[in-house]
Symmetry: C2
Subunit: 153 residues, 2 copies
């Protein structure tokens, strides 16, 4: 691959990833409505998937500081969507789970997002999506491995 070809691919990727991220976020926000923010929904999704977790775990997964998690969990807790339970063995630990209300709201919201994504996916051939997702998955892996990428001077 020549330098020019690489530069062109890099440029294309950078502007596409920016544009797709912005537009995707906005569309998701429309589906979620006013009860939750996107980040709050993502948080509910994670807890829903793992069933139980801690702030430390969320901070690692979302790659933010624990105090950022405390803030977001506080807001979900104030809305009655999340339960905090202290570990009786190790009383430093607080387990996070969804309340009944949290589960309901998540299910509703997730359903709308599913319908949105389904309507997007239906615009493609199955084969094309699968290829796309395969590369996307690989990209996700490469991003994980590049976590400590440094430009050599």
């Amino acid at each position: 691959m020549s330098q020019d070809q690489i530069k062109e691919l890099v440029d294309r990727y950078i502007s596409l990833s920016f544009s797709v991220a912005k537009k995707g976020e906005n569309l998701v926000k429309c589906q979620i409505g006013d009860d939750l923010t996107n980040d709050q929904h993502y948080t509910l999704r994670y807890i829903h998937n793992v069933n139980v977790c801690t702030s430390t775990e969320l901070a690692e997964v979302f790659e933010v500081k624990k105090s950022a998690i405390t803030a977001i969990i506080n807001r979900l807790w104030e809305k009655g969507l999340i339960q905090r339970t202290r570990d009786e063995k190790d009383r430093r630990v607080v387990y996070l789970t969804l309340t009944e209300k949290g589960n309901m709201l998540f299910a509703e919201t997730e359903n709308r997002i599913h319908k949105l994504v389904e309507s997007l996916i239906n615009r493609f051939e199955q084969k094309e999506i699968e290829q796309f997702l395969d590369t996307y998955e690989k990209l996700n892996q490469v991003l994980t491995e590049s976590k400590d990428f440094k430009v050599e001077e």
Copy 2:
């Protein structure tokens, strides 16, 4: 495509897009350093590409309200990276351009991001990237057309 197949593809896409976005943002942030935020860099990139623009144009492109643009432009202006010039014909309009300093900082930062993305892209076959970007581009188009998607009840 069966319902289950669709559901699986949708699930895969949702979690991947979330994960890739988060990790990508974090990697970019590492390259940008402490002089700029990601959004500030994106703003500089847009102005750099079009050379001259207005707040209204930025608000449309970024899909945010104009007051959000005022805030971000103020911060870039305070750092001496952006120039504001009133239109002499229509004195309501303010043209935004990069200052010398803005151009320099953008070039430096963009260069580091380019090297990052290049290192990512090099992990793939050229053919695979091109296919991926083609679908990504189509997705971007579909997202634009879906701007007013509503779930039918």
